[in-house]
Structure formats: C-alpha cells, structure tokens
C-alpha cells in the first residue's frame, strides 16, 4: 500500500481551476521531485497536502487514513512535515527555541519516546552543525542555515512525509550541497520526500522520480534522467518549437 495516495484531486479558486484531477501514489521511502513552470500548481498542491487549502474534489489518504478534511495541525500530528519556500523558521526566537517548540507540539506519546527534550534539541542542532549558534536568534542565520534548521526541526519531530518547497532557493552553492546531503540522510532513514525545485541537476542527484505539473495537471512523470531528456519538458517550459 502507498504511504500517500492522491485521487482525482481538484481545486478551484475564484472560479479558476488551479489543480485538475491529480492522481498520485507515493511509496514509503521515495524521494519525488515536483517541477513545472510558474503557476503550474506546485505550491498549491503542497498547500492542499499540508491542509492549508481544502480541495474542491478528490481524496487524500495518508497511511490509509482519509485526511482530506483534516486541519493542518492534525496532519502534522499524523506525520506530515512542511518546509516553506519563504523560510518557516521563527526568526525572533533562538535556534534552541525553534527546535523546542516543534518538539513540544508533538503528541504526548511521541514526546515521551524522545525523553529529555533539551538533549534532543542539542542533537538536532548538532546534526546540521548549528550547535554553536543555539542561543542566537534565527534571524542571525544565513538563508541556507535557516533551511537546514527547518529541515532538521521537521526531522526530529518524527515526520514521515516531508514536503520541501524550493529548499535551495536563495541558498549558496556550498549550502545547497549540505541540504542535498541532509535530504539523502532523510532517504536513508526511510523518510518519504516530495520536493518542489527548479534546479534540475539537484533533482537528478537526489530524486527517485520526477513529476511535472502543467496548468494543474500531471503532464509528465518518470525517472529524473528520462524526464530531463523528454522533449515535452522543454516544450512545457519554453513552448512548442515552431520548426518542429
């Protein structure tokens, strides 16, 4: 059985269809790249999956549970984690507090498994080499460090499905490498990742499968190499070649 099952998912906003009948099965441990031109519905799909938008039609099952009508906070509690394009860190809180607040929001049984929360906070910051900044406010970090903090915070809070929205946007090449390594660590730990990204070499390096959205539909999907060399991809991004 798939970890995440999306069936006939549609969303209409202000009379405009944004998502049109998306069907997608995601297996546990898969890393899937979600690409497509601007306005193709990538972030909207993530907003529907994380519970910030309600679909007009269709069903979403996670671990065989129908979560179509669930609130965002409930989805977080059953194991869905989101990393935001505009940095989801709490900038006026310290790094320690950023991780601690995530752990404190966990259901009680998960908190008990973690034991000493302060130790869990320290090991999380150590994972992304930010332990020396523990007492600093998050707004003192670079964009790449904020992204690492956000992913690590999601990881330690026991999420199983990660929705990463452009994790390399506004990040230096060196930090992009560190983010790729962290995502590969997630994969090794058996986590499932959906990742919106424009950087195709990055997608090729870390993803098992790529889906291409266009005007709210899955226009193309397959292995990263196959999709990259598919003529339809170029057509979607740059339009049809008039000489063809």
């Amino acid at each position: 059985m798939s970890l995440l099952s999306i069936k006939s998912l549609s969303l209409t906003l202000g009379g405009q269809p944004i998502l049109r009948g998306i069907d997608l099965e995601v297996e546990k441990g898969e890393v899937i790249g979600v690409i497509g031109p601007n306005g193709s519905g990538k972030t909207t799909l993530f907003n529907v999956l994380s519970g910030f938008l309600k679909p007009t039609h269709g069903k979403i099952h996670f671990k065989q549970t129908d979560m179509t009508g669930m609130a965002a906070s409930e989805r977080a509690r059953i194991g869905i984690g989101r990393v935001f394009q505009n940095f989801g860190v709490f900038r006026e809180m310290t790094l320690e507090e950023n991780v601690l607040v995530a752990l404190e929001a966990l259901p009680k049984e998960q908190r008990l498994v973690l034991g000493d929360l302060k130790k869990a906070v320290h090991s999380t910051l150590k994972l992304v080499h930010l332990e020396d900044h523990a007492k600093k406010k998050a707004n003192s970090l670079s964009g790449g460090q904020m992204r690492l903090l956000e992913i690590a915070r999601t990881l330690v809070s026991g999420k199983e499905l990660f929705l990463l929205d452009e994790p390399t946007a506004g990040v230096s090449p060196k930090m992009t490498g560190q983010i790729a390594d962290l995502i590969l660590t997630l994969k090794k730990e058996g986590k499932t990742v959906l990742i919106i990204e424009h950087d195709l070499p990055f997608i090729q390096k870390i993803c098992d499968r790529v889906i291409v959205l266009d005007v709210g539909e899955i226009a193309l999907q397959g292995k990263p190499d196959d999709v990259r060399h598919n003529g339809k991809l170029k057509e979607l991004y740059f339009g049809a070649d008039p000489t063809d």
Partner: protein, 291 residues
Amino acid sequence: MQLLLNALIAGSFAALLASGLSLVYGVLGIFNMALGQLALVGGLTTWWLVSILSLPLPLAIAGGILITALTTWFGFEFFVAPYYRRHRFLPLVTTIAFSMILDGLILVIFHQEPKTIDVGTRTLLPVFDALISSQQIVLIVLTILFLALLTWVLVKTAFGRRIRATVQHPTAAESLGIRSSLLHRIVFIVSGVLAGFAGIYVGIDQNLTPTIGFAITIKAYAAIIAGGKDSMKGTILCAYLIALLEQLSIGLPWFGSYIPSGYQSTVALLVIILVLLIKPQGLFGSKTRIA
C-alpha cells in the same frame, strides 16, 4: 511628583488593556473594538457583587473576572470565530457590533450613574510632596506583577513559545502541530480578562460610568499604535508615556493658562495622529511581526 504618580496610576490601567490588545493583534492579526466594554463588564459586575450581593472583595473580583472571561468567550464564538479567517478586517466591524450590544446591556442593567467599588477607608500616604492611596499602591504593584507574569509566560513557558511561534509564522507553527484555533481562543479570553482587571482597577481607583466603553478602547489603541502593533514592550511603555503626556497637558500651565481636564483624552488621539504621520509602524514597531 503628583503628576508622575497620577501618570503611573493611569498608565497601569492603560497598560493592562493595551497588553491584551497587543497579544490579540500579534496572534490573531485582528483588533477587538469591544475591549472598553469588556473592562466595564469586569468593573461593574465586581461592583454588583460587592455592593448588591455583599460578597467579600477578593471573591467579588474573582466573580467579576469569571463573568468577563465568559462574556469574552461568548464574543469570540459569535462575533470573531466565524469571520476572522475569511478576512482580518471583518472582526473590526463585528466587534463594534458586539461593543454596541454590550453598551446597551450595560445601560439597561447598571443605568447611567457612576459606580465605585467600595474597598473601605482610603489611607493616603505622602510620597515627597505628593499623595497616593494605599489602594493605588496595591493596584500599581498588581499591574506590574500581572505584566511580569504575562512576560514570563511568553518567554519561559511552552505555551508562550507556541504563542510567539504563531505570531512569527502562523502557517509554520500550524504545520508543526500547534493548534491555532485553541490558541486563538485562549489568547482572546486572556485579553478580555486583562481588560476586566483594568475595569476593576478603575472601579476601585475612581468610578465607572457605564458609557465610557469607547473612550477606554481608544486609550488602548493609542498605546498600541504609538508603541507599534507588533511590540508588546513598546505598547506597554507607550501606555505609561501617553498617561504622562495627558497628566502634563492638563496639570501644567500652557502659555499662562490651564487646559480644561475634559481635553485630557484628546491627547491620546493626537498621539495616534502624530505617530501615524511620523512613524506609521509605531515608535518600537518593526516590519516583522514579533510578540
């Protein structure tokens, strides 16, 4: 010295109101226009429990706060909850409706005459060349303790961290599993309780006229606009600063004559206008939202 003491007394009252308003704006992103009426509910029900039911003062205060909390909760469920997620300006209109309903009920139940909560004999104590009553000292100390407790909860506790996280990035907080709807209810009721205490404060220190709800609300708004909508520290500081300006405006001669005390509240409105002109984000406000 007397002006300073008066400013401390009036500022503590405004700080109680404005800190609740700041908290609600920070967490829910909305303004509650019924704050002054909720202060009256706290003060007048406490007066009723003391004067009519002859309850001991601490019990009456607890009763007044409980009634204010329930009224605020009712206000949230019927005048805020159905609207605030659709558009953040809708509660501005709906809470005005709530305030008008409360105004009407207050007039019907308590009539127009000013009410003072009876706390027994007032002992006046000299401070340099000024006088302060023992009740006023207790009220100022209690206000400072309340505000210190509020700050401690925000900075040191898990609940406070959740509030600050929600203020700074509401969607990220929710995607970590923080239940925003429960948090919003609690914060809104806490702001009502702070307003209720402010009403009791005025009822003990001076008197409560059942028609001053809107004027009370304006005092809190002056503090939050001057201090910065996103800065609770700035809001509290400006509550005291505006109270000081009010006292200076009527307590000192200006160009040889005194300004009539009826113009005291105008100072708050002038502060709002001036700050909006010079620094629209407030004296301590920033472009990012923080608790």
